[in-house]
């Protein structure tokens, strides 16, 4: 039986304070450069109270709300992978010390992370990266160290964004698993409250130091209403049950040529996607200090280097690169890792500079699939 309590707005501040007192690095949503990004949070004042956003293909705009909602926006340009699986990470440095070489490896973060406002889609994305990066035989030590002890304050979405489609991917909007505390922002008798579900012993322990009271049945019902309404207002829809077969059966569909005409092969979609995990390493040698080192950074299947094997790149055309990305996300990921690689967060749609929409691409292939085009079924 789930355990529910209720926090008022000052309870939320007390929660942030308690996390800081426990020496977490508290990260959450905040406004920067006209967008809601994830960064260090000092107090409630840093959160985007009274703001939301408008999103569609290649379009994002920060918009003032009519109320004081604190979590009244969906997801923005950043995802939590910035912190768990950083874009640029020095792995080691080497310098000569007399006749030997001294190697220093990069240590994990000084403080464990506390993430405030993690949405259901992103919880699923974290679970996917857990499977990929630490779930198998080969463990990524830097991800392991960053993920270990991370405290997750999830939020049930109060409204879906214009490019959200978690309901189609069965990844939201209601959070189910993988959090320490989960908040639903509700307003009862003009009072802003956070119905809070306890998801772990660590979550319960933190709450002991935070003023709260047991939730009433009305509050629980109000929170259920919130996620039900959000589920019914998704910005995008994508039929996902047979999408693996659909794509793998249409590898020569003319739609790939059409999307390739628009695709810039810029790689933005892979960078914003919370599940894309590919990296590449770069060695450097510094003329001045004589030090050399290795740095890891996010890679993208949209670059030519990505598929470079001696003599050239395997995926030279935009068609082959877009197809690689989308069929990996929605089809071969299932064979590789046991789930879809897409959690329906919509970031790739919003942050594609030319508004290419993964749900529209699937639909185009689905709707134009005449039976006589049997050669696509090979």
């Amino acid at each position: 039986m789930a355990e529910y309590i209720t926090l008022a707005v000052d309870g939320l501040q007390a929660l942030l304070d308690e996390l800081k007192r426990r020496e977490y690095r508290v990260l959450g949503p905040t406004i920067r450069d006209q967008a809601i990004v994830y960064d260090d949070i000092e107090s409630l004042r840093d959160l985007p109270m009274g703001w939301t956003d408008e999103q569609s293909g290649g379009h994002y705009r920060l918009v003032a709300r009519q109320d004081d909602a604190i979590f009244g926006y969906p997801v923005g340009p950043h995802s939590w992978k910035r912190f768990l699986h950083p874009p640029v990470l020095p792995l080691w440095q080497a310098e000569s010390a007399g006749n030997s070489v001294r190697i220093t490896t990069t240590q994990g973060p000084d403080q464990p992370f506390a993430f405030i406002g993690v949405r259901s889609c992103d919880l699923h994305a974290i679970a996917i990266q857990d499977r990929v990066l630490i779930g198998g035989q080969h463990v990524d030590p830097s991800y392991r160290d960053r993920r270990k002890g991370a405290f997750i304050v999830a939020v049930n979405c109060g409204e879906a964004g214009g490019t959200c489609f978690c309901a189609s991917m069965n990844t939201g909007p209601k959070v189910e698993d993988g959090f320490d505390l989960a908040l639903t922002e509700i307003v009862i008798d003009d009072q802003r409250l956070f119905l809070t579900e306890v998801g772990s012993p660590a979550g319960r322990d933190v709450l002991l130091q935070v003023p709260h009271r047991p939730a009433t049945p009305d509050e629980i019902a109000a929170a259920d209403g919130v996620t039900a309404r959000t589920a019914a207002s998704m910005g995008r829809v994508m039929r996902s049950d047979d999408v693996r077969e659909l794509l793998l059966g249409n590898l020569d569909h003319p739609r790939w040529d059409e999307v390739a005409e628009r695709c810039l092969t810029c790689g933005n979609c892979t960078m914003v996607c919370p599940t894309c995990f590919c990296t590449s390493v770069e060695d450097s040698s510094d003329l001045l200090s004589g030090k050399s080192g290795r740095t890891r950074h996010w890679a993208s299947c949209f670059t030519l280097d990505f598929s470079y094997i001696h003599g050239g790149s395997v995926r030279g055309s935009a068609r082959s690169r877009y197809r690689q990305w989308m069929t990996h996300k929605l089809a071969s990921w299932v064979d590789q890792f046991g789930s879809s690689g897409c959690v329906g967060c919509g970031r790739c749609i919003t942050w594609c500079p030319v508004g290419i929409d993964i749900t529209e691409e699937v639909r185009a292939i689905r709707e134009d699939r005449p039976a006589e085009r049997t050669h696509h079924e090979d």
Binding site: D33, R262, C266, N268, E282, S284, D286, L287, L288, A318
Partner: protein, 260 residues
């Protein structure tokens, strides 16, 4: 480091350019002093001065080819250089002076100079690689100090320089910038532009101007299509691609689609 007893000889050559890239080199003084023991450096800053003598292990070439004399001189430089690296938009694409490629040079000369018959110039400004074989092209207007040092360090270590040819967007996202095009409707050439500047302009809320020229697989046609509803007309689009890298084939072609 190449296996030889003598120190490698590095030469810096200047053709038609503003000197900005050589300033980047001067700005590397500390680092270069550190390798001065390992390398001999010869500068050839002016077209007329500096005798070309002997052979050079690594030649860095700045500037574009705009005169018949320079077209000759670059062949001589190539003959004497084991490795030839071009640096900057002038050397790799013809530079801003390649705007002459879209105009009538004779007519210009007659308007600008009192004695146009003294002017011995080619009708075009072209990249070094249009004249001789080039081993590596380092992009940028101006080049980045970090990348220049990387090229020299890579040469000394006998490895390939790390200067990825993907889009500026990749660097922009690594930095965690908010995309100025998506979030602010600011036109940005980042998606079609070669990385190297570490997304300098988008990091300050500006659109990318394309200083590093076209990226590895530029789709400027699609980007232009997207920019029209942001308020850019044909003339704006043409000018967008006609700056420091106007003569780089992908930008040249796209600018020509939007007018003569």
């Amino acid at each position: 480091m190449p296996t030889r007893s003598k120190k490698p000889r590095l030469a810096v050559w200047k053709f038609a350019s503003c000197d900005g890239c050589q300033l980047t080199l001067l700005d590397c003084e500390d680092e270069l002093l550190a390798v001065a023991g390992a390398i001999d450096i010869a500068y050839f800053p002016e077209a007329t001065r500096g005798k070309i003598e002997g052979r050079y292990d690594l030649s860095l070439v700045e500037g574009s080819i705009t005169t018949p004399h320079d077209a000759e001189r670059i062949r001589e430089v190539r003959r004497r250089s084991a490795t030839l690296v071009t640096i900057g938009a002038c050397a790799t694409a013809g530079g801003i002076q390649a705007l002459r490629n879209f105009a009538d040079v004779k007519e210009y000369a007659s308007v600008v100079y009192a004695r146009p018959d003294y002017i011995d110039t080619l009708a075009t400004s072209t990249a070094i690689a249009d004249h001789v074989a080039v081993d590596f092209e380092l992009r940028g207007c101006p080049i980045s100090k970090k990348q220049l040092l990387e090229v020299i360090a890579a040469y000394l270590a006998g490895r390939r320089p790390q200067a990825p040819a993907h889009s500026v967007c990749v660097e922009c996202k690594h930095k965690g910038n908010v995309c100025v095009m998506v979030a602010h409707k600011t036109p940005c050439l980042g998606p079609v532009t070669h990385a190297g500047c570490n997304a300098l302009c988008p990091s300050y809320g500006r659109g990318c101007y394309g200083c590093y020229g076209p990226m590895e697989s530029p789709n400027a046609v699609s980007l232009s299509q997207w920019l029209k509803p942001l308020g850019l007309d044909e003339r704006d689009l043409q000018r967008l691609y006609r700056t420091f890298n106007a003569n780089a084939p992908a930008f040249r072609k796209e600018s020509e689609r939007h007018g003569p």
